[in-house]
Subunit: 355 residues, 2 copies
């Protein structure tokens, strides 16, 4: 282990733990994790991990574990990479938004070494997920940090307290949100090296981050959303439709809406990916994240998956009938979840939202 | 009580019990009920009813109570009116479909008196609800029975075993599905007299049954459906929408779809009813029937509320983007409910419906 590079992972779910494990296994940096709800269990017993990449692990811990971002940021370490793998829910509790999670690290790093670069790595779904961060914490005022984009495909789930089950090989694309920022591009390339655990995982530097994110939105904006509305895994959502309408009247037109929005900003998503995403979904038992969120009573990543694409569509005058319908329904469900989580109050005597 | 007229009510929910009570109170016919799940309780203790029309009743029973339609049909009575207040779910269990519920009465009546008219009264939501009955049991082959249409507005709910709470005055419109059938029209007028309990309820003969059904569909096809998808009462469904979109992007266009379908068969639904239904809904805490069905895990009246209007739209070449979307989503949810009720099997290993 080399200690000239420190990485902290914020968000200890299925993605965060496998990312930590990959970098720990790669052995090119010191790996710290911010572990909130499972902190005591991880400190006492470590993680229990059943991984297709790393086998059955018991008592695994990263190099350091912190209870929250404040504790990590005041550790005296300069974190070169702050990897955030939490859900990105800008309309959720403020304490979990990207600016609030990143700020303590930007401030402590600046005090420790104002000449050293900090990279914030967002390994999350959606489009324009970096916008809230860089408009709230302007890079020129915070030590010129850069923001990297991670798209991770890994069938990994937290199945219990400090227990992870990983069924699909860890596959990460990493690049710079701003491909014209040479420091960000170099940092992304370096991160790919730090992340590379040989034959255990797959990582690649991604020159076209925004293209990749639009491409992944084909799945998330069309399929993830629909399953969240009906509360079913993908194969049932497809098979339970009337006369193949789930595919033909929801998934395909929703994906074409995404293709049209991407095209309006000059990004060409090839048609073949539409068939690809529909086909890989039909015969594989899988419940996407937004559906799981609804089932667990948690807020969905609605804004980064649908709200932001629809804002771009509106700006560019793109018609999006299917995505708009899905959004209108899911916005109601998101507020239902907010009420369930005490984030919104509804007064039944006046029939209105009171805060 | 006059015994020259016998009425049997099939379906002992909130609507069926209040209808029975109204006719019992009117005192112009003998009132029998088919009470399935609550039979033993009703026989032993009678109904407990908290009614805005009839006060607090304890131990109330109609003149006769039967366990099922077969028992009622073999009672030796000629039932002039067979009033069906069950849900109309043609895609549900066959034993609960209209032809199966009506047939025993048509057969027993024919044996008792082949010259006397039988009227089947469907007090139910939706459009074309009589079609399955008259195409399956052709009137010319079954003693020339007639079918009457009842649209009942009554805030009445079964709140426990043989327990009914009624908060809105019983208001029934009754007419002939086929207004050119003079016997049906006369029978409907007679039923209105039998049903009239003076100042306790309101009943009127309806010359324009199909118009009334389309009008009520404004509410059921747009609002009832949407609440079933999001799982919320009407005020929350409206207020939780993004930028008033529940009203502007779901309810209103869905209602305009209904107006256009009705227009395609020459029925003019006045625009004022659209605003009326949206406004009465916004500030009254109410959870519509399809939403209650989903919450209870019961099948919805999807086909008579949305499927049938959409069939007419297709035949007449009417575009119905909003209703079609609602239907595509609800068809998935209906099959989810069918699986939960053992009416459909899904094989996860092949990802397909097996029956």
């Amino acid at each position: 282990m080399s200690t000239d590079c420190n990485v902290v992972i914020v968000g200890a779910g299925g993605v965060g733990v496998v990312s930590s494990l990959s970098m720990y296994h790669a052995g090119k940096c010191e790996v710290s994790m911010v572990v909130r709800s499972d902190y005591d269990t991880v400190v006492e017993h470590g993680y229990t991990i059943d991984s297709c990449d790393y086998g059955a692990l018991s008592g695994w811990r990263p190099h350091q574990v912190y209870r929250d971002v404040q504790e990590a940021a005041s550790s005296g370490k300069f974190f070169d990479y702050v990897v955030i793998t939490t859900k990105n829910i800008p309309d959720g509790p403020r304490a979990s938004t990207m600016p609030v999670l990143a700020q303590p690290f930007l401030e402590s790093n600046e005090k420790l070494d104002p000449t050293r670069l900090t990279s914030i790595v967002l390994i999350q779904n959606g489009i324009d997920i970096e916008k809230e961060l860089i408009t709230t914490l302007k890079p020129e005022e915070h030590n010129n940090y850069v923001v990297l984009s991670g798209v991770e495909i890994v069938g990994s789930t937290k199945v219990g307290k400090a227990q992870i089950k990983q069924v699909g090989t860890d596959n990460l694309s990493i690049g710079a949100f701003d491909p014209s920022d040479k420091r960000a591009v170099e940092s992304a390339k370096r991160f790919a090296v730090l992340y590379d655990a040989g034959d255990k995982n797959h990582v690649e530097f991604d020159e076209r981050v925004r293209y990749s994110r639009w491409k992944k939105l084909l799945y998330n904006a069309a399929i993830n959303t629909t399953t969240a509305i009906v509360g079913l895994d993908v194969p049932r959502t497809i098979e339970f439709g009337h006369e193949d309408n789930t595919k033909n009247a929801i998934f395909l037109p929703a994906m074409h809406d995404i293709v049209n929005i991407a095209a309006s900003e000059g990004i060409v998503i090839e048609e073949k990916f539409i068939e690809f995403f529909v086909n890989i979904s039909a015969k594989r038992m899988f419940t996407p994240s937004m559906c799981v969120d609804v089932q667990k009573g948690q807020l969905m990543e609605l804004e980064v998956i649908l709200g932001n694409p629809l804002k771009i569509a509106k700006q560019n005058g793109v018609e999006t009938p299917t995505l708009t319908f899905l959004y209108n329904i899911l916005a109601i469900i998101q507020n239902k979840l907010k009420e369930q989580n005490g984030l919104l109050k509804f007064d039944e005597s006046t029939c209105s939202i009171t805060d």
